[in-house]
């Protein structure tokens, strides 16, 4: 990717910097202040939407590393999220551990669960793998309902009290927003660094051709399981936040349908790009919210009075499913590719090339 005119690196540190120019730095600070101040202006509904978007972004960025970078189709992301949520919930409820312990532990437990199914990726190639991750989903739902009631509450699920950190209670949407924002930024920063590193390049090599990658000395076994480990770690962290935000954890919340949506978000945003994962999540979530919001209003019109709100909600699936199909056929590189084209032409304006 080209840099703005006149920007070139003179040291290795400059060459590796994420923020290259002064305007980029200003815009970044303005954007962070904007994100920070958003709950102050928006109503409670907006903050709720933002919280869910933040949690989903974490899970989808993890899926991007796993599916977009390493090329391992993963339909178990929501089950991995569920493992994280249950772990964090049980640790908080039974052992009263602080969240700076429970959230990383939730991530790691989900990562271990994910890596077990990722191990299958070593023997199984291509889309057989999608099926072992579907198996993860079934085993998760079964286990959580059947494990002893003392641990995970079986069919009753887990109910949590508001969490607190150093005496600060995260008891409202607005308060937990900052926790989610902080962790989301941290996780995205980590992902950004990871995909530019040696590990990230190895993952891409495995995606492009795992035989060739093996021959040039990349440990395919290690990197395939690592991609599941990392992807599921992100899911676990997202799941723990989900648990702390909703304060109720049940196996029925983490469905295969949700994993399907996460992949849809990746497709629309663009496979193989962290920014793409974020754009895709935000766009699809906002579309979903928009349709849920205008749905009841449409059925209020006299002409369309025969159409119930449920129909509008269902047609949302048709619309979004159609969008996913169109993106695969006509813009396989996703919205992020469009965004890059716009950015490039802005930079080289008024020239064409």
């Amino acid at each position: 990717m080209t840099q703005p005119a006149g920007v070139y690196a003179q040291t290795y540190d400059e060459d590796q910097a994420i923020i290259r120019t002064r305007p980029q730095c200003y815009w970044f600070i303005i954007f962070m202040i904007f994100l920070f101040a958003l709950p102050l202006f928006g109503g409670g509904r907006l903050v709720g939407i933002l919280n869910i978007i933040g949690i989903t972004v974490i899970a989808v960025v993890g899926l991007q590393i796993n599916a977009g970078y390493a090329g391992q189709v993963n339909l178990g992301q929501s089950a991995f999220m569920g493992v994280g949520a249950y772990t964090a919930g049980a640790l908080t409820l039974h052992l009263h551990l602080p969240i700076w312990i429970t959230i990383p532990v939730a991530g790691i437990s989900a990562a271990v669960f994910g890596a077990i199914f990722g191990l299958a990726a070593v023997r199984i190639k291509g889309f057989y793998l999608a099926l072992t991750t579907i198996a993860a989903q079934y085993i998760f739902s079964f286990a959580m309902i059947k494990l002893p009631r003392r641990w995970f509450g079986q069919t009753e699920g887990l109910r949590l009290n508001p969490i607190s950190l150093f005496g600060f209670e995260f008891d409202t949407d607005g308060r937990i927003y900052y926790l989610i924002l902080f962790i989301a930024v941290l996780m995205i920063y980590g992902a950004w660094g990871l995909v530019r590193s040696k590990t990230g390049r190895a993952l891409v090599a495995v995606r492009e051709n795992d035989n060739a990658a093996g021959i040039i000395g990349i440990d395919v076994f290690y990197y395939k399981s690592l991609s599941f480990f990392i992807g599921a770690f992100y899911a676990g962290v997202a799941g723990s936040l989900w648990g702390y935000y909703i304060r109720y954890i049940h196996a029925d919340q983490f469905t295969l349908w949700l994993s399907v949506w996460y992949l849809g978000m990746l497709i629309v945003g663009g496979m193989g790009s962290i920014l793409g994962a974020i754009i895709g999540t935000v766009i699809i979530r906002l579309l979903q919210e928009l349709i849920t919001y205008i749905g009841p209003h449409i059925s209020e019109f006299q002409i369309l009075s025969g159409i119930g709100g449920g129909i509008v909600f269902a047609s949302m699936n048709m619309l979004l499913g159609g969008i996913i199909i169109l993106f695969v056929i006509y813009e396989p590189r996703g919205l992020v590719h469009r965004w890059n084209i716009v950015k490039e032409s802005y930079r080289i304006w008024p020239f064409h090339h």
Partner: protein, 294 residues
């Protein structure tokens, strides 16, 4: 003992039903290399078509089923024409991703057209049980099992002895090579989608005969996946054996483990078998072993 045997019989018959759904999946995979995650949704479409013709338009059941076969064939052809034809020769990843969009789309369409309420599927087979010696067998499943074996034999013959079938097998090997040999890749894929649509409707008619149904029936598409993998993605004859194996072991597991776990074992057990099999034999029992070159 009798109770265990009846678990085994009903398990085996359920396994054969899974094999029938799996067949639709395998036929699509064999021709287009598309891993159709939306297979369960095709079953739902077939089910609601039969319901519409039989209950909404009040046609006799045999006519309703024949009409549904035709419409689901058209639906299959339509999906192929709109979605998969532009993707011929694209990488496999796109082929799988597009079925995810298809899954979301069809589910939305089913909800819009038929609403999420419970519909009662007409009785295709007599509702009485079939008494074989001391065992009571569900008549629908028994007929279904016989139909599955016949259909599998027919398709097996079709793929190995007819020109179109052999062409489809060649297309499955490699689109590029098939094209350069002058084979009609588009037609092969279209035939596969049409056949798969019909098979899904057939499976729906057997599975749902006389039951209540909602769009959630699509879960059976996923439940059938272990059968596909156990057989290997390319084998049609192997599906019968794999279906019986999964079904019978499911019945046994249900008998011994359900008292311990208080039910629910049947849903998860096939997946556990599947993972174990995949770790030992990644290409399933009868799948093609591919030699990979760089």
């Amino acid at each position: 003992m009798i109770s265990l045997l009846s678990h085994i019989i009903s398990g085996g018959l359920t396994g054969l039903l899974y094999a029938l759904i799996a067949m639709g999946f395998v036929i699509i995979y064999r021709s287009s290399r598309a891993f159709n995650l939306a297979q369960g949704e095709l079953v739902v479409v077939g089910a609601f078509l039969v319901w519409s013709f039989a209950n909404y338009f009040g046609l006799p059941i045999w006519l309703a089923i024949i009409l549904s076969f035709m419409v689901s064939m058209v639906v299959g052809l339509f999906i192929e024409r709109i979605i998969f034809r532009p993707l011929v020769g694209e990488e496999l990843f796109a082929l799988v991703m597009v079925t995810i969009g298809l899954l979301v789309f069809i589910r939305g369409a089913v909800l819009v057209i038929w609403s999420p309420e419970v519909h009662f599927f007409p009785a295709v087979f007599p509702m009485t049980g079939l008494k074989v010696g001391p065992f009571m067998v569900d008549k629908g499943l028994a007929f279904g099992g016989a139909i599955t074996i016949l259909v599998a034999a027919a398709f097996s013959w079709f793929f190995n002895h007819t020109r179109t079938g052999l062409e489809m097998t060649a297309v499955a090997e490699d689109h590029q090579i098939a094209l350069s040999l002058g084979l009609n890749v588009k037609r092969s894929i279209a035939v596969a989608w049409a056949a798969s649509g019909v098979l899904c409707t057939l499976a729906a008619a057997i599975f749902l005969s006389g039951k209540g149904m909602t769009f959630m029936v699509s879960d059976i598409g996923l439940a059938a996946l272990p059968v596909v993998l156990l057989a290997g993605l390319e084998s049609i004859g192997g599906l019968i054996l794999a279906g019986l194996l999964i079904g019978i072991s499911m019945g046994i597991a249900e008998f011994f483990l359900d008292p311990i776990f208080e039910g629910g074992v049947a849903a998860v057990f096939p997946f556990i078998i599947m993972i174990i099999v995949l770790l030992i034999r990644p290409s399933g029992l009868f799948g093609w072993k591919t030699i990979e070159r760089i």
